[in-house]
Subunit: 110 residues, 2 copies
DNA sequence: ATAATGATTCAATAGTTATTGAATTATTGA
DNA sequence: TCAATAATTCAATAACTATTGAATCATTAT
């Protein structure tokens, strides 16, 4: 993953609203959720939700698919996994072990 | 890790300057770097660097220690590892495997 | 066709973030 | 003490982000 992509992902995740939306879509699984469902579930006004969904989509963290007059959103798990890989490669210096924290071995460079 | 902490970390990592600073400090290892070294290495004016170091410190991603008239900064690897754990717990839904991406098994809930 | 529904875009506003140069604080060295 | 050095804070500005309500666009149902 290149740096601009990583920055966009971090910026997208730096809002409580967007983090909540993304988590909801992760939990929703492959079916995702239409905008109205997200709006209702998280109690976010449609216009504000649109704003944040746009940011998430621009960062690539969610995809949008038209479904009649609904708009269905899904989490892009692959990008999140890539992001975790990016952080992993940037988080552990020489000889630093991640075992201490309960993260699986092999995750960090060390 | 709680949500406000995660949000602060993501916000801190959402600036190219701060990401560069953090990576530099990770590479520097336990010795860290004094502010002037960071400023010179990344070609960032001292006053702007102070601004971004403040953000990183507030998020907990770096620590600062006075050393004579210098200020030594170090990366907080533990917090980064916690952040990776946070993302891991929020990235993989039911039955989603991370194997595809080359991330070690056991990382995702699966 | 027309009305109703789902969602987005637009316009306005308030608040926040990034950057720069000048001023300030603190420590070291002559 | 006095000048020099390291770093931060302050003040000003420009740019961006978040939120809301009104308006618009597209699709569905009558």
């Amino acid at each position: 993953m290149d740096k601009p992509t990583a920055l966009q992902v971090f910026e997208a995740l730096s809002s409580g609203v967007r983090l909540d939306v993304f988590r909801l879509l992760v939990q929703a699984g492959p079916d995702g959720r239409v905008a109205g469902e997200i709006s209702a579930a998280l109690d976010i006004p449609p216009t504000n939700l649109s704003f944040h969904l746009k940011g998430l989509a621009q960062a690539g963290l969610v995809t949008a698919e038209q479904e009649g007059r609904f708009q269905r959103y899904r989490a892009n798990i692959a990008l999140m996994v890539d992001t975790i890989a990016f952080l992993t490669e940037n988080c552990c210096g020489e000889g630093v072990s991640c075992e201490l924290t309960g993260i699986a071995e092999g995750v960090c460079k060390s």
